[in-house]
Symmetry: C2
Subunit: 336 residues, 2 copies
């Protein structure tokens, strides 16, 4: 039904062979200027577009990279994607985005699909459910370039780009401490995620450095990182029903932070009078919130750009790369 123009059509119309046409279009030297001109003119006239599918099949590369994130409806990821695209498009690569919705199964399916679809490389931020990463390590072992960003898998030896989650968490927690809060809880995403581990560690370090106790009853995990509102609500209710109610919470995630505010609003708990909040967020409408949210902002756009540059370096490397780096970018604390 939809029949694009092929090199064959041009050849037939011009009484040439397909190879000659191909050469004219590819601009090789082994072609007469005259023929080239004719072919190019005709190609433009009929708006010839080479078929990238055929090209991919031939060259075994697609000039496209796959991106695996949990949700595009997340400021952090949409900003990172913009960073990714900015580099990729400049370098002639196309970007295929896929969402896991924090589901491990979805992640496996998406990764398989992208790989079989001949993406030349993968930019991955793990889903919160993922613990087994064999779907990625097997591809990586077989030579598919992969760069992790945000939620990384330490088991796989490749480039990684993350924000300084530990320091960001430390600063946010310290901010709450300096504001005079005494019982600071921590609400975070699933336990095994690299970002959760790093942010937890920053939180604990800040407490310890200020001679405050780390209590496990103050630390709540949400397996789906706030995707399910009930999860957040349950965690908050548990915290608020402790004998020693916390007077502040450091929240380690975008959706979780806004989710928290919603829950408090719903439960009519005054923020920051009854409980103060500081949390990670890259939302760009944060300044419209009331109560306001002191937040740690990650350089999502830069992270996306850097990860893409590193991936393209791997893809275009002449020789297998053996040395891998983990880049750590600074966060910003916005006090509100």
């Amino acid at each position: 039904m939809f029949e694009p123009v092929t090199i064959k059509d041009i050849a037939k119309a011009l009484g040439l062979s397909t190879s000659t046409v191909s050469r004219a279009l590819r601009d090789t030297h082994e072609i007469s200027a005259a023929t080239k001109k004719i072919v190019l003119a005709y190609a433009k006239e009929i708006n010839y577009q080479p078929n990238p599918i055929a090209l991919s099949l031939k060259e075994r590369r697609s000039k496209s990279i796959g991106v695996v994130v949990s949700e595009v409806a997340n400021s952090y990821f949409s900003q990172a994607i913009n960073g990714i695209e900015s580099i990729a498009y400049d370098r002639g690569y196309h970007v295929i985005i896929s969402q896991t919705h924090e589901s491990y199964d979805r992640e496996v399916i998406n990764v398989q699909h992208l790989a079989s679809r001949s993406v030349d490389g993968l930019l991955v931020s793990l889903s919160s459910e993922t613990t087994d990463i064999s779907h990625l390590s097997s591809l990586h072992e077989r030579g598919l370039p992969i760069v992790f960003f945000d939620r990384v898998a330490d088991e796989i030896d490749t480039h990684k780009v993350i924000a300084n989650n530990e320091k960001g968490a430390y600063q946010a927690t310290e901010y709450l401490i300096k504001q005079g809060y005494q019982r600071i809880a921590h609400l975070t995403s699933s336990k095994h995620l690299s970002i959760s581990i790093e942010r937890l560690s920053g939180y604990e370090a800040a407490l310890r450095d200020h001679n405050m106790e780390v209590s496990s009853s103050y630390i709540k995990h949400c397996l789906h990182g706030g995707m399910l509102p009930e999860e957040t609500e349950t965690a908050i209710k548990e915290l608020m029903s402790l004998k020693e109610k916390p007077d502040a919470i450091f929240v380690a995630g975008d959706r979780l932070s806004t989710g928290c505010l919603s829950v408090f609003k719903k439960l009519s708990i005054a923020v920051p009078e009854e409980i103060a909040i500081a949390g990670f967020s890259n939302s760009d409408v944060l300044d419209l919130f009331n109560p306001s949210l002191t937040s740690v902002r990650q350089p999502a756009y830069d992270i996306g750009q850097l990860a893409t540059e590193m991936l393209l370096q791997l893809i275009e490397a002449k020789y297998p790369v053996e040395e891998f780096e983990k880049k750590i970018l600074a966060t910003d604390l916005y006090v509100r």
Copy 2:
């Protein structure tokens, strides 16, 4: 470097022909149960994945659909995308998302790329810059199925799915009128966008039905739909420097609505005391805003689903479809 397993590898390893292997994997009847079992077992063992590129080339279809939106970092679009994916994945189609960032040039490039990449169909919401739609109509004439959603092109005869923008705008404007506001301005996106036209028309109808005058000085267009904060700020400043300052604004877009609130905050203009706002928005953190925003919410997820169903119907139609529909879904007014 990255060498996936092919049907040929299996054939060689098992001493069969490629076609036999293909038949075993395709599960045709003309194959012995024994061979089939052997092939399937071996395929599973080495984790064989068929190469969809080769398949696309052969079958001239890719089982994938392209999506063209302005920004994924926009609640409306990210929700629509989720709706799109929910249907597409169920039906075995993959979704390739591309962003125009409200740029016409980018839209042309993306559409060309998607088409040449052999997507089986296109879901399109036009960029705010787009007036010339020949990049789409030429593809459409050549038989590529296209369904428009949100920002549609009336010139192209195909399925369209939109929210009831006119009624939504009418209700929001009427709400402001009933609150007692007298001088209601209208801030909207670029003039030629279908959504702008529809929403403007609802706004004007509401004013007229309540015997209020429509004044062109009260209507401000932002060519980039609020993508550029200066645009919004300039428009607001112009409105606020009129002799007869408006006492309310009906805002016709997500980014524009939040952008408006930001500008008022920046300029220390009290909302809703000095000026009231009602606007289109699909943000899911609207309830955390202060000042709060009365908003028209579109059924973005449903729109995405419906548009996808219609597109797949076109793609899978046995005979060329001649009758096209424009589906109009109801909006919701959230008074805050």
